[in-house]
């Protein structure tokens, strides 16, 4: 029998110490957001940024990405899709297709038109940023999937991402550490993480 089990005072003290603090979902969400932001910082562990491999598989993946990118660029250039982006005038945009290998693109061959990923342009004005990516529920909030490209004037960042039709929450990850909302888009609470996100509605309402 342990020391504590023999002593009722100590047992009662341990019971008291075992009382858990009250649950606070808001704090849990803040921790998750902080950890998610920190994991993609430049000082991150090297295991997260693996050097490109030289096997055949990545070549196929890259080829798939290029094909998907070409499809999207084609759609856009033909005006096949409206631009529902809360974004910027077209003359400023320097669209680049990003995240072509995202899960959204894998649904592009579905028979229903509602299940086809649509190209969605995202833009952000920031002269000070060094890196910008769009993160949202359509790419698992992964900042490595959809980096934005800086325009020649150095102020506007933009990209085009295939996104499934529907309402989506998103934001921008600036310099791998700062999560900012799109100043041109409406905001809503993120059901998963609690914080606010910008809202984009893709496809038919």
């Amino acid at each position: 029998m342990s020391d504590a089990e023999k002593d009722p005072v100590l047992r009662r003290a341990i019971d008291e110490l075992r009382r858990l603090p009250d649950a606070d979902p808001g704090k849990v969400k803040r921790v998750v957001l902080a950890a998610a932001a920190a994991r993609v910082s430049p000082a991150d562990d090297d295991v997260l940024i693996k050097p490109p491999r030289r096997s055949n598989a990545p070549r196929f993946a890259a080829a798939g990405g290029l094909i998907a990118a070409a499809l999207i660029v084609g759609f856009v250039s033909r005006g096949a899709f409206p631009s529902p982006s809360p974004a910027v005038p077209a003359e400023h945009a320097t669209p680049q297709v990003a995240g072509a290998a995202s899960p959204s693109m894998r649904s592009a061959s579905a028979s229903s038109s509602d299940m086809v990923a649509l190209p969605q342009q995202f833009t952000l004005r920031s002269a000070a940023a060094h890196r910008v990516s769009v993160v949202g529920d359509f790419n698992d909030w992964n900042p490595k999937i959809a980096p934005l490209v800086r325009s020649p004037d150095g102020v506007l960042w933009s990209t085009i991402v295939p996104v499934m039709p529907g309402r989506h929450l998103y934001g921008f990850m600036v310099d791998d550490s700062l999560f900012v909302l799109d100043p041109r888009a409406p905001k809503a609470s993120d059901p998963d993480l609690g914080s606010e996100g910008s809202v984009v509605i893709v496809g038919r309402p």
Partner: protein, 206 residues
Amino acid sequence: MSRLNLTASRLPLPRPAATAVLDARTISRAKLGDIDAFTEIVDAYYRRCLRFARATLRNPDDAEDMVQEAFIRLYRALPRYEESARFESWLFQILGNCCRSANTAFGRQGARAVDDDAALERIAAPAASVDRIEDDWGDAVRRALSDVPVYNREIFLLHYVEGFSYEEIERMTGVKQSALKMRVKRASDALRKHLAPVAARGGDVA
């Protein structure tokens, strides 16, 4: 003065503290960067981590920051986590490191200004207020624990409150089991010495 009922302990000891059981797949998903899976992990362990940090830190006000720091370190290191190791031990190992660092930093800062009116009132109050404070068994326990040296306190909490075996704590801290048992005994003796008079004043100690 309220009567303390000290007969209703829910022990035996130690035992794993209550935590939602995490599916191994949840940890695997989190290793791959799945934020939903990581949210499940934080949700399952946050309150236990906060309890441990509050009891371990010299400045309990730092507890939430240390818990957040521990989860940040955990998330960064997750890709390297070997699933043969016990996840819970690993988390508390990280948290323990964070708390030790914070205690060291706090010790260097020395005394801090007290801005809390309630705290000032307690300090300035006459001796009778000690009885008032210790009417509350929980306050008495926390005050007694705060008098236990941190290096003994941490091991005591890991063993009796968080439910880790001495073998697990040895792996987590690198301290031999014989030394761990001695630290727990010293912490237990200190708590008993402080709390026995409080319990005697309170009543039943069966």
